[in-house]
């Protein structure tokens, strides 16, 4: 695959990924568009710019790793991995269909190039810390990136892991909070508010950055700072917009877990042209 750090090229990739997300979920007639669209710039930057990885050798031991702890955003991960060359682009439209490698939530049994099976919220950060610790034992300088949701941060295990990561100085792990402010039942602030997010991570001992998660330059700079930070893990609190890029999905709790209709898919693709 051809990597790039050019923000214009990354923005083009982001647009392609957003189109895939809308089309895949539309075809599946179920899925989670809002939290997939909010994560696009972060995943695009990781896979095309930041991470050391090789789609031709998905199990290369010294690769960097990415875990989508908020597994319901699987479409963004599938679209990115397919465009990188890990898996077929033309099968993206089989999302959620029987026998598809693109299961409803990431499933390593169907897509071995995935780093982890996720979907039960709260677990990915612990997996990342285990991987990071294992890689350190091997003497590798590989890094592990894990994306969690803001709603997911209501899970107690996240904070067990946060405590562990800082105390044990697992500095090859970088956690990204996709802070899109919406979960299934509504706005996070109306369900069980997780604010103040950055203060919590700082209090738990993580090097914590707050960025606009759709500003590619800011995303790149944050990952560079994370990689340069030694002795403590980094948490990037990415302020994002749920449903980003599709006007009628933006900040709309309905599109946490509801697929667009065929008419809505058409409208969305026009906006993403």
């Amino acid at each position: 695959m051809q990597k790039t750090n050019d923000p214009h090229e990354l923005a083009e990739k982001a647009k392609i990924i957003r189109r895939h997300i809308v089309e895949m979920i539309g075809a599946a007639k179920s899925g989670h568009p809002g939290g997939s669209l909010s994560a696009v710039e972060i995943l695009v930057t990781l896979y095309w710019d930041v991470m050391r990885h090789d789609p031709a050798h998905p199990k290369w031991p010294q690769r960097d790793r990415f875990i989508l702890s908020k597994g319901h955003a699987a479409p963004v991960l599938y679209a990115v991995m397919a465009e990188c060359g890990y898996c077929p682009v033309d099968e993206l439209m089989t999302l959620r269909k029987m026998g598809s490698i693109y299961q409803g939530h990431p499933d390593v049994r169907f897509l071995p190039a995935l780093e982890a099976s996720t979907g039960s919220l709260g677990e990915g950060l612990s997996l990342a810390l285990g991987m990071g610790s294992g890689l350190k034992l091997d003497g590798f300088d590989s890094r592990v990136y894990v994306m969690i949701g803001d709603g997911e941060s209501q899970e107690g295990q996240i904070w067990e892991a946060a405590m562990y990561g800082a105390y044990h100085k697992v500095d090859n792990v970088c956690c990204i909070v996709d802070y899109n402010k919406i979960q299934l039942d509504g706005f996070v602030k109306d369900i069980l508010d997780v604010a103040p997010v950055a203060e919590k991570w700082r209090a738990f001992g993580w090097h914590t950055l707050e960025i606009d998660g759709h500003d590619l330059g800011a995303v790149q700079a944050a990952f560079a700072e994370a990689a340069a930070t030694k002795g403590q893990p980094t948490c990037i609190v990415a302020n994002t917009i749920k449903g980003k890029g599709v006007s009628f999905m933006e900040n709309n709790p309905k599109f946490h877990g509801v697929a667009p209709t065929p008419q809505e898919v058409e409208l969305a693709l026009k906006e993403l042209a």
């Binding site: 031991p61 099976s117 612990s126 285990g130 991987m131 610790s133 294992g134 034992l137 295990q157």
Partner: protein, 321 residues
């Protein structure tokens, strides 16, 4: 064939102690073996490993959910994690993580639950584990082992380090009688025939193996020939040896330090219903126990050789004439 017919049942090490020693042994041989514990290493006896291999030991604090998934992450980089705590905590608090990060994606994690059953004694029911085998057996692909003594525990730990896949090893707090000679053959997935017998079969795992041997001696004095099987591996179950026992002795008793409805007894009944239906009686726990001595609590809650003897008589009385 029976290994011996003369069991002295001398008190040996606790199976948790045997686990701690065996883990050090396998860790010396295999640099990929790592350990995770949740602030109980001095009780689970992972402390021996932690002292000898500090960089390979991951102290997780009192946070079992994180510990189990952290172990899964270590396994995903090729390590062989032994994850240990009291059985009730690692299985109950870590169960969801065992399901989603270990069993379902088929990750190579070994879980060691110590202080299992009610023979921990004084600490009482909040620390006792009487559901752990039901939970472990519920996980597809898991191998579930409840060794009876130090020899079987060592063999189990050595096997687990070699085997790729999820494993649950159940250990106890109290010292237990030695069943096996140091060089006895313990094959995971194959039950051990401890005593031959014609009239009834006594089936057990863990602590109740010794009680069944005592029961067999009492039955022998009455002229009843009891076969004794140590079914240390609950999953996969050695259905052949159980079906043969059902056909050849015609009646069975399953005795275990676990909830009676969801442990080995349920698995044996299911296997025999399929392969060789026979009357079976069950000795186990109906509900939560209480504080007391490690000997007194199991006795009060019915885990005795006398109850096994009585159950054997009931099972034999139900044989088709």
């Amino acid at each position: 064939m029976a290994l011996t017919t003369n069991y002295e049942l001398k008190l040996g090490a606790a199976t948790r102690e045997a686990f701690g020693r065996a883990l050090v042994e396998v860790a010396r041989e295999n640099p990929n073996v790592v350990g995770c514990d949740a602030d109980l290493s001095k009780s689970t006896m992972m402390t021996y490993f932690a002292k000898e291999f500090p960089t390979r030991f991951f102290e997780c604090g009192i946070a079992e959910a994180n510990m189990v998934a952290l172990g899964a992450g270590l396994a995903m980089t090729g390590k062989i994690p032994f994850v240990s705590s009291f059985s009730c905590f690692v299985m109950n608090k870590g169960f969801e993580q065992l399901r989603t990060t270990v069993a379902y994606p088929r990750v190579n994690v070994k879980v060691v639950g110590t202080h299992s059953g009610i023979s921990i004694g004084e600490d009482g029911p909040s620390q006792m584990s009487i559901e752990d085998l039901a939970l472990a057996c519920a996980l597809p692909g898991f191998t579930v082992i409840s060794p009876a003594d130090e020899v079987a525990t060592r063999a189990t730990v050595r096997w687990a380090a070699e085997h790729f896949g999820g494993v649950f090893i159940r250990c106890g707090r109290a010292k237990v009688p030695v069943i096996y000679a140091a060089d006895a053959k313990i094959e995971i997935g194959k039950a051990n025939l401890l005593l031959p017998g014609r009239d009834v079969t006594l089936v057990a795992h863990g602590l109740m193996v010794a009680e069944c041997l005592r029961a067999a001696a009492a039955l022998d004095a009455e002229g009843i020939s009891a076969r004794v099987l140590d079914v240390h591996t609950l999953k996969p179950l050695d259905e052949e040896i159980l079906a043969a026992a059902a056909r050849e002795t015609g009646a069975l008793v399953v005795a275990e330090e676990h909830l009676v409805d969801s442990g080995l007894g349920a698995r044996v009944a299911q296997a025999l219903a399929r392969r060789a239906p026979a009357p079976v009686e069950f000795i186990g726990l109906e509900t939560y126990a209480e504080s007391g001595t490690p000997e007194g609590v199991p006795a009060k809650y019915g885990l005795t050789s006398q109850n096994v003897v009585a159950a054997a008589r009931r099972a034999m009385a139900r044989k088709a004439s």
